[in-house]
């Protein structure tokens, strides 16, 4: 194998390990994530996991960061192509901020762990802050496209939307609330602020 090919394989293994860790954390919880299990899922040896990630803590930290980065790259593009109508596009963006079953829900479970760990590990803070910054800019742009009234600040509105999605989303995740209801609440708030069609989010 050439050196370049070896590096590429190594990068592939590293990413596979991270992806496997992300899935394990989402399904089993952070406390029950075992290195041996992650290695098996990723199709590598335990020693290779230890080679890439010196400690369990390091793997956890990087898995969370990986999920955040991936969400920032993949998700933030999605709402944009969905529709040329700015209101529908904004609604699609909000949907990307709520824990719908599948990848979104999986990311959410992980982020909950990230929030929790960031409180005690300030070094994780910048990763979280970076994603919020990107989401804020992304949402502000969607808001502006719908027409923000004079005197209202799209940045402030974006902060509120993100916080509402997080606060409602966590309730959905725990099973206290239907996701459709959370969606209607966020949209209801925005419909009031921007004078949009409130019924767009219903049903």
């Amino acid at each position: 194998m050439t050196e370049a090919a070896a590096t590429a394989t190594e990068r592939g293994a590293r990413e596979r390990i991270l992806a496997a860790a992300v899935e394990r954390i989402a399904s089993d919880g952070i406390d029950d994530m075992r290195i041996a299990r992650v290695a098996m899922d990723a199709g590598v040896s335990t020693s290779l996991v230890h080679y890439h990630f010196e400690t369990r803590e390091a793997l956890l930290g990087e898995a969370l960061e990986y999920s955040y980065e991936r969400a920032g790259e993949v998700r933030l593009g999605e709402g944009e192509e969905a529709d040329s109508d700015p209101e529908r596009r904004l609604l699609a963006m909000i949907d990307q901020c709520l824990p719908y079953p599948g990848a979104l829900r999986q990311d959410w479970v992980l982020w909950l762990e990230l929030w929790l760990r960031s409180v005690r590990h300030p070094e994780l803070g910048p990763t979280g802050a970076r994603l919020y910054e990107r989401m804020r800019a992304w949402l502000s742009e969607g808001l502006v496209a719908c027409g923000v009234p004079e005197g209202s600040d799209p940045g402030e509105m974006a902060d509120r939307v993100l916080a509402l999605c997080d606060g409602l989303g966590v309730r959905v995740l725990i099973g206290e609330m239907a996701i459709e209801y959370a969606r209607e609440q966020v949209w209801g708030y925005l419909a009031g602020e921007l004078g949009l069609d409130a019924s767009l989010a219903a049903g």
Binding site: R117, E156, D159, I174
Partner: protein, 201 residues
């Protein structure tokens, strides 16, 4: 009968305070019962006598902190007749640095996902918080200080917003400071309740 129950009023709160400290520092995952015992100046069996598990320590630590919060809040709210000032006080406590124990709350959220008992605890504490907000709204509507919003719907919206902002504050997001969180929340309440709040803040 064991003589220990006579010391309940001393030991239990001391253990809970120690548990809150240790959980805050290390995370529940890395906490051993013996750590809590050591911090409280007692033994592990003694901790286990009062609390069957680490999850129960978390649950009881949060519940007792909430009891103290509501005692203080009740006193605080009774100092003013104005519903608007009451709402501002409640938002200040929720969004500000105040007594909000982000580390413990996030443990509860994360664990509520997998532990039905902790999920029930979260729902109970959340219900109480929302009822408190809704009561102030009803009170304000009676006094014509607030417009005709649905109190329970508003309480959920404000409560969720405050939770989401608390996350951003806890993450150390430079954009969302406690003051800004308060401002963002009051602006939402002003719009929903059709009243002026930031002037009384």
């Amino acid at each position: 009968m064991s003589p220990r129950p006579r010391l309940d009023h001393v030991r239990r709160p001391a253990i809970l305070a120690a548990a809150a400290e240790v959980i805050r520092e290390r995370g529940l995952e890395n906490v051993r019962v013996s750590d809590v015992a050591e911090r409280a100046g007692t033994s592990a069996p003694s901790v286990l006598y009062y609390f069957a598990s680490k999850a129960e320590l978390l649950k009881e630590a949060l519940t007792s902190a909430e009891e103290r919060y509501y005692e203080d809040l009740e006193r605080d709210l009774s100092e003013t007749e104005s519903a608007r000032e009451r709402l501002v006080k409640i938002v200040g406590g929720g969004a500000g640095e105040g007594d909000y124990d982000a580390a413990l709350w996030m443990e509860l959220w994360a664990r509520a996902l997998r532990d039905p008992e902790l999920a029930a605890t979260r729902a109970e504490l959340d219900d109480r918080w929302r009822r408190t907000i809704a009561e102030i709204v009803r009170y304000g509507q009676e006094r014509d200080e607030f417009g005709p919003a649905q109190p329970d719907v508003f309480a959920l919206l404000l409560g969720s917003l405050l939770d989401g902002l608390a996350v951003q504050i806890a993450l150390g997001d430079a954009e969302v400071t406690p003051e800004r969180a308060q401002d963002l929340s009051l602006a939402l309440a002003e719009r929903e309740l059709n009243c002026e709040l930031r002037a009384v803040a």
